[in-house]
């Protein structure tokens, strides 16, 4: 646990065919990993749109992980290729908006890789802890309040 009390809030979009089962396996094998990630089961990593990732950040996530089947293993043939294709462009866009490199992570985790799942979540939690809180919505708090009413005259 950190000194400053910051616990990263992570969202994990997990493909139901591979990575979600990998997470289950990590659980049944009683592997220890940090509790910071809220898992969301998706039909395919290809189903995870940039919109979902942006919404997660806008609503308070500090980091987002997308985990799907290894290339070649997609249940829907090439859904994970689409994920991979979108990812660099999205990263570039998010970096333009001031999100540090590394707040989104793409991983291939199969149903047999419970240990990899636990390791990835552990690593990612520490990486985001090092980056610090994102606090996206904090930016919009005090603008209107900053204006003294008498400053507005016709």
């Amino acid at each position: 646990m950190s000194d400053n009390g910051f616990e990263p809030r992570l969202i994990g979009f997990l493909c139901r065919w591979c990575s979600y089962n990998g997470a289950d396996l990590a659980g049944t094998a009683r592997l220890k990993y940090p509790p910071n990630m809220v898992p969301i089961k998706t039909n395919c990593s290809g189903r995870v749109e940039p919109t979902h990732i942006m919404k997660a950040f806008a609503d308070g996530a500090d980091g987002v992980i997308i985990a799907g089947c290894h290339p070649g293993d997609c249940h829907y043939i090439n859904g994970n290729y689409r994920t991979a294709g979108r990812y660099p462009l999205m990263e570039k866009l998010l970096e333009q908006l001031g999100l540090e490199h590394g707040r989104v992570r793409l991983e291939w985790v199969s149903a047999a890789e419970g240990d990899k799942f636990a390791r990835v979540v552990g690593e990612f939690t520490e990486e985001i802890r090092a980056l610090g809180p994102l606090g996206w919505s904090e930016q919009f708090k005090d603008e209107a309040a900053a204006v003294a009413p008498e400053a507005v005259t016709a």
Partner: protein, 323 residues
């Protein structure tokens, strides 16, 4: 019978929306027959205090263009909301932040630094900046406070209707005025509150007459790097065209004259975030054998935010850049 009351206001606006209203041409005479102008700074001499003196709901319809960029814009948004029965966010700036919304890539201070000290043509060795308050012998003067974040009208006050476009097209304005006037006369119904008006169903591509084939591209090109085919879809020729992520309504004005759509009509119905939608559309039409190659090509888009959110950054999910 007495005429209805009409108002139009420009907040953080370029003035183009005001001109667009005049593009309805002879129809403006009908507007004059049906409405009294009770506030329209671009066209008639009214003061803010005139509006403050009106009863709440006095104005029947107010077309509000421009974004909310400073405290004066915000004050007028609140004032006109209270005084208007029907408040229309008019144009891309009022509905989505528009071009001025790109200021959300910087802070207010960064913009002032650039304008007052860093621009090569500026000679300001003492770093004099405009002050919000200044005392002169006659009293105190003040300027509006500039916000860090450009807001849409809806992020500021309750809005009845949204009419996108930079600026909205004349035939759409005429159509909307017909509907509103008929409803005020009791001869028709207003659209449901919160509706986007002056648009057509589906996307800009549906109105575009260019020939569409399979969308598969091997890389991006800019319009000055080659002579695009006059008939074929621009996106299929590698030019980033926002058509698939943009609402129909303009009649595909830009693509019909060889320019890619920039997305001024905002996202089509059901799309939450125009830029995110365009991003996934682009990535899915890149024709390459493996994810690494797709990624390499996708990363060659020079300015994703400025391209995908040219008009919609302020209304996007993330709304601005972190500064």
């Amino acid at each position: 019978m007495s005429k209805f009351k009409f108002a139009m206001y420009w907040a953080g606006s370029c003035g183009g929306c005001e001109i667009a209203l005049l593009e309805i041409q002879a129809k403006i005479i009908e507007v004059d027959q049906n409405y009294d102008v009770v506030f329209w700074p671009a066209a008639a001499d009214f003061k803010y205090k005139d509006v403050e003196g009106y009863d709440d709901g006095y104005i029947d319809v107010c077309l509000f263009n421009g974004c909310i960029r400073n405290s004066e814009n915000e004050h007028l948004a609140n004032l006109l909301r209270a005084k208007s029965k029907v408040l229309v966010a008019f144009g891309a700036c009022a509905t989505m932040g528009g071009i001025p919304g790109l200021a959300n890539l910087s802070s207010a201070q960064e913009i002032k630094d650039l304008v007052y000290t860093q621009t090569p043509s500026v000679d300001n060795p003492d770093k004099v900046y405009p002050q919000e308050r200044f005392t002169v012998p006659e009293g105190e003067l003040d300027l509006p406070h500039m916000y860090d974040t450009v807001k849409t009208l809806e992020q500021t006050v309750d809005v009845d209707y949204f009419m996108p476009g930079c600026p909205p097209e004349a035939h759409q304005i005429a159509g909307v005025l017909d509907v509103v006037t008929a409803a005020l006369k009791g001869e028709g119904e207003l659209p449901p509150k919160g509706a986007t008006i002056g648009v057509a169903p589906k996307s800009c591509c549906d109105e575009c007459e260019r020939v569409k084939d399979e969308k598969k591209i091997a890389g991006f090109r800019r319009i000055w790097e080659f002579f695009p085919d006059r008939e074929k879809c621009l996106l299929e020729q590698g030019v980033i065209c926002m058509g698939p992520a943009t609402a129909a309504g303009c009649g595909a004005r830009c693509t019909s004259v060889g320019m890619a759509c920039r997305g001024c009509y905002g996202p089509p119905e059901g799309v939450v975030d125009q830029g995110a939608k365009m991003l996934s559309t682009l990535a899915s039409i890149i024709d390459a054998p493996d994810p690494d190659e797709i990624a390499r090509i996708a990363a060659t888009v020079p300015d994703p935010v400025g391209t995908f959110y040219r008009f919609g950054l302020a209304s996007s999910l993330l709304r601005r850049a972190r500064v």
